[in-house]
């Protein structure tokens, strides 16, 4: 059981590193927003695995918060991209 959770966490950390590389690499604003959206999902998965590992409700509160924040962030960035497109 523990081994499987460790494997899952290693895979999730690898996914986070790959996603961060996508954000840091020179790419367009939309690409970065998409990558950050994916990163939010990866962090949520990590929190869920961690919560079951520790049997800890606090991590689940954080997961709920992260879901809300991630949605607000991607909507805000989308509106920003649209408004910038209108200016041009």
């Amino acid at each position: 059981m523990n081994a499987a959770e460790m494997v899952a966490i290693v895979l999730l950390v690898a996914a986070a590193i790959v996603g961060i590389a996508r954000v840091v690499r020179r790419s367009s604003l939309g690409d970065r927003a998409v990558a950050l959206d994916a990163l939010t999902a990866v962090i949520t998965c990590t929190l869920l695995v961690g919560a079951s590992r520790e049997d800890d409700g606090l991590m689940l509160d954080l997961a709920v918060l992260l879901g809300l924040m991630g949605f607000l962030a991607s909507v805000t960035v989308a509106r920003f991209i649209e408004s910038r497109k209108d200016d041009q």
């Binding site: 367009s28 959206d37 689940l60």
Partner: protein, 97 residues
């Protein structure tokens, strides 16, 4: 019988965790591999829904208290409702490039 049951639940939740994590890795790799922003969005939305749902199912099998299970359900419902809306708005904003 009870021991067998506990082992079975452990194995199932392990498989779900590893599957969700592998999906997350494949999704972020897709961000690098695919050609344009909309294809990348296609790769990124898979871990956002199915990956989180698999990890949540694995966590539900392990958690002991009912309030924790409720929180997991809230996480999944929130993700399933908000992720398509965010992806839709981003897809419309990104346009044709």
């Amino acid at each position: 019988m009870s021991d067998l049951w506990v082992t079975l639940v452990d194995v199932v939740s392990s498989v779900l965790f590893v599957a969700g994590a592998a999906l997350a890795l494949v999704g972020t790799l897709g961000l690098h591999r695919l050609a344009d922003t909309r294809s990348r969005m296609h790769a990124a939305t898979k871990p956002a829904t199915l990956g989180v749902a698999l990890c949540a199912l694995g966590a539900v099998l392990q958690l002991s208290s009912a309030s924790d299970v409720t929180k997991v359900v809230v996480v999944v419902v929130l993700q399933l409702v908000t992720s398509p809306i965010g992806a839709h708005m981003l897809g419309r904003a990104v346009g044709d490039n």
